[in-house]
């Protein structure tokens, strides 16, 4: 038998449908910010348009892509077979319907639509969690990275549960006035517990794999993972015991992130691949964005209420940088490696090793990917500065640049999935 098709990697179509949904959401979100910058980027933060945009990015884009990528990566990284792949295939549809309904509900601010979308979303994500549980129960050797991914998934479930309780509160008011306490921990669980911890777990495996790096110290990984989880936990605990000061969780999270950033740097230093690939450059930009965000959060909790860091503008700039810098740049970079890899395996896996097949980097246009990188990275940084400094024109122009970068990305994704001839 000479085929690379293996039981331990699911067929391409399962991850791809989640990933394509994600990219469409990402594009719509960029477009919306460009069309309504005043509504979306000047506050107040809790308005229908912003809440809708936030969930388009967190659920439609980031969560969808992470779910799709995990279907592909968990078998590879944790060395197990997927439990029920058919269930994963089916669950895509209720997730899509639920998330779209929720986002529309937030936008038109109709609490019945919000509660309906929230319920479908919650049920389909819980079913996803249950299905993942089946896969994870078969993992034989738990690594640090696997543990981070597991904790990330648990926080995902909690984020969804909290969101669900808030949607029901909005519709039926059963929690009375306690939405405020729920909201803070909902954001901490989603942003830090789900996305950031998951990125730690996946990146600690993939960054060395893609940079071809080994022999670096791994001693900081577990502390970073535990501190990040502990920090998230403190933020959740604050919802129940408001006496816990915010700077406690924020400090743990800040230290965790600095350890992670140091680790990424060390991994790059020990790399074999001479030229840093696109995925590594995007990761580096993403980590810089992450440091900025976590430093702002930390500073805000240290300085307390009433400081300039508590200003709504700073809050929006940090939120923008969190979602479109730290999380999005990390995802876009990894998709530049993962989608070609999936497409390559799907089309050429059987021929690889026996006859000439196209190389991974020949699956997309390099000029376009370079343009994509600079437009997204510089554009995102400039939007951040524009929001922070209240410069409307700069913000608009930079939003245009990021939209162009997103288009370049979408074009290259299209290229990646087209059949190609081998050049050699």
């Amino acid at each position: 038998m000479n085929t690379l098709a293996t039981k331990k990697a699911p067929p391409v179509t399962l991850p791809i449908r989640y990933i394509v949904t994600g990219i469409v959401s990402y594009f719509i979100a960029q477009l919306a910010m460009l069309l309504w910058p005043d509504k979306l980027l000047t506050g107040p933060v809790l308005r229908p348009e912003t809440i809708s945009l936030v969930h388009l990015l967190t659920l439609g884009w980031a969560s969808m892509v992470v779910i799709g990528v995990l279907y592909q990566m968990i078998p590879v990284l944790l060395q197990v077979d997927l439990h029920r792949e058919d269930v994963g295939r089916f669950l895509f549809w209720p997730a899509l319907i639920g998330v779209s309904t929720l986002i529309v509900g937030f936008r038109i601010w109709n609490t019945t639509v919000i509660a309906t979308g929230g319920t479908i979303t919650t049920l389909s994500f819980f079913a996803y969690g249950w299905n993942m549980r089946g896969t994870l129960l078969n993992v034989k050797a738990w690594s640090r990275q696997g543990f981070a991914m597991l904790a990330g998934l648990v926080f995902f479930m909690l984020t969804v549960l909290w969101g669900f309780m808030m949607t029901l509160t909005l519709r039926f008011g059963f929690l009375g006035s306690s939405l405020g306490g729920l909201l803070g921990s909902h954001i901490a669980m989603g942003f830090i517990g789900w996305f950031t911890l998951m990125i730690f777990g996946v990146a600690y495996r993939l960054v060395p794999m893609f940079a071809l790096s080994h022999g670096f110290t791994e001693s900081r990984q577990l502390p970073a993972i535990l501190l990040l989880g502990g920090g998230t936990f403190l933020f959740i605990a604050r919802a129940f015991w408001p006496g816990i000061p915010g700077w406690t969780g924020a400090t743990l999270v800040m230290v965790a992130f600095l350890l992670f950033a140091l680790d990424v740097r060390t991994i790059f230093k020990h790399r074999r691949r001479r030229k840093l690939e696109l995925v590594s450059r995007f990761s580096a930009a993403s980590v810089v964005a992450g440091i900025t965000v976590f430093a702002l959060i930390w500073g805000r909790f240290l300085a307390g209420q009433g400081s300039w860091l508590d200003d709504e503008r700073v809050l929006i700039a940090a939120g923008y940088m969190a979602l479109l810098g730290w999380i999005s740049l990390m995802i876009v970079g990894h998709l530049y490696k993962i989608i070609p890899f999936l497409a390559w395996l799907h089309r050429y896996g059987d021929k690889a090793g026996k006859e000439a097949v196209p190389l991974l980097r020949e699956l997309f246009n390099r000029k376009v990917s370079e343009a994509c990188f600079w437009l997204l990275v510089i554009g995102t940084g400039m939007v951040f500065i524009g929001i922070l400094a209240g410069l409307g024109l700069l913000t608009r122009l930079s939003l245009l640049a990021t939209l162009a970068g997103t288009l370049a990305f979408a074009y290259n994704v299209w290229e990646m999935v087209q059949p190609k001839e081998a050049k050699n």
Binding site: N2, K8, R205, M209, R272, F341, G353
Partner: protein, 78 residues
């Protein structure tokens, strides 16, 4: 016929098996063959091998794991 280099990667966690294979290839001559034993298929290795101009073959072994044979493309098939 060149040398045959054997590599036992069982019990190692990714990306270590893949890194060891790439490292070993750098020390080998054009006519040499690498035979590696892995617990799993090193999926991300295959595109790297293509990039470096190697032909390869993966076979499941009795009792679990895979045997991956790598040689310079265009050379005699081991």
């Amino acid at each position: 016929m060149g040398r045959v280099v054997e590599l036992d990667n069982r019990g190692l966690e990714p990306p270590e098996p893949m890194m060891r294979i790439l490292d070993a290839l750098e020390t080998m001559g054009d006519g040499d063959t690498l035979v590696a034993r892995n617990d799993r298929q090193p999926m991300f290795l295959y595109p790297e091998l293509e990039e470096r101009g190697y032909a390869h073959r993966t076979e499941p072994m009795d009792g679990g794991g895979y045997r991956i044979t790598v040689w310079k493309a265009g050379k005699e098939r081991p």
